[in-house]
Amino acid sequence: MEIVVFKNDEWSTVGVLHPPKDGSCNSVLVMLHAGASSKTGHKSSFVKLARLASENGICAFRFDLPGDGESQIFINTLDRVKAISDAINYVVSKYKYRNVFLMGHCVGALRSLEITRRYPERIAGVILWHIVPILHNLYLAERPPHKLPIQRLKRVMSEVIRFKGNIKSMTTLASACWSLFRSMLSFPISFVRYQSKKRSGNDEKQLRNIRMPSLNKVMVIVNPSRTHYENMEQGEVFLKERLEDLGFDGPEFVQLNKKVLSLDWQTIAFGDTIRFIFECVEKKGYSVPEIKEDSLCL
């Protein structure tokens, strides 16, 4: 493991690079964590995945996104996606990696998509782990409504009232929150809406017309344990349409609930991530090693 500190006039971050034990490698897996998280990742998942990637000959890089963990922001108007891209560029150019894979968790997945859209020629593949379909779900999914922090509850309440009219009791509110959440799944816009706050209508149309280079692939790992995808099939169709709108053809879906029960979800998601990277690299004509089955037993 190696500490990487990236710093410029706008922000600074601390990352951990996990190079393979046997030395050099062409591919780097860059991991973007979820909101209000850090380079450790949810349930230490990034640490475990980075070690697994390293054992399989893939370099892994995880770092604190702007405003989280041990990063520092020096200007308020920071373009976060550009800032993240700069940090990735720094690592990629310093260590001369040929294939860059992005793996984003939750809101990190949204950012991975946006980076891929901005720099399609630079990203060999993107793995969207438990992508958040709409920002409001961030605090609806985290815990039951009655456990929400007050200020966030107020924000949710204002949304609920907009959709459902007056709320007279906490029970009604809780029920309305879940009802609203379910209705969100059928909304036609997810991350497009997320970005549209900052972009004009014309920009949005242009973005929709961008086609990703054929080598770029996207894999979506959906975890039914989280409430983002209460209805797996509906969620999958929804996400597939949105990804195709954004120029990603034929996204691969991995549903964790259909896998062997004796393995935990992290192990399954990690195994699929490594396999996906190997397949993408193979498509580019590089030789691909075998996945070390033993290393999947975390």
Partner: protein
Amino acid sequence: MKPNHLSATSETFHFEKLGESILYISTFTPFDQPSKTQVVLICDALWDEQDRTLLVNTKLSRLLASHGYTVIRFDYSGSGNSGFSNGYITFETMATDLNNMKAWCASSFPKAELHTLICERVSCNLVFTQPTLTSGFRKTIFVHPILNLSHFFKWNFVEREIINSNAYSNAGLSETQLIGELQTQSEISLNGFEFDVSFVRTLLGSKAVWNCDLQEKNCLYIFDEGYYRIKDKWKDTQRKIEMVIISMRLASRTNWDSEDLKHDKVFLEDLFSTILNYATGDGDRGV
């Protein structure tokens, strides 16, 4: 008081092999070193809470460093960015790490005074079980101790394992059955974390911390406002208690004047000023 993201501190991050573990250590030092170096050691939370508290701890470290303290925080082995040792996290491994860190502080800053030990969540419970860990420090601050480890463990791991539709829940086990099942196994994986079965038994068998014998020492307990009843329960003791709203899950904060962030700003300032006042003061404030 607005947290100052100083440019007034120097920050280093590195891995250090201490004993059998490789620990991730962050050091925040003031640019203008005071004549006497005073070390504040921050012991983080564990599991999911470690991930959530990192941002707050980092901001707190920068704040304290801007007031002249040398602040050191670390991840316990097997937690956060620190390496896994050949086993699981237990109170014994945590105590070893804490003692190693104290020794490392003494060797890295030979002329420094160990000033304040700040424990968060389960780190508080560690010190409650082994009060000698505070030796050498002038002051100890307990931030939001877990009052009932058994309840904490059940809620955060057992119930969430069931909610997460994992292997156990597919076997149709209730919480009670699952706990019974767990106690027969030698290795336990719950909600994405691995446990030693004896540690699970320790956690499940733990009661509230009322009996801990630290009230005579120079300690401050900080609880979330939601735990206001504690103040009543402990009113006859000599414990110094502060109630602040603790918002550990702070998302990216760049615009502190935003209306949306006003509440979190107040929470954070309240927590920081409570800690800073106690650390810099004479420590004699009553309840």
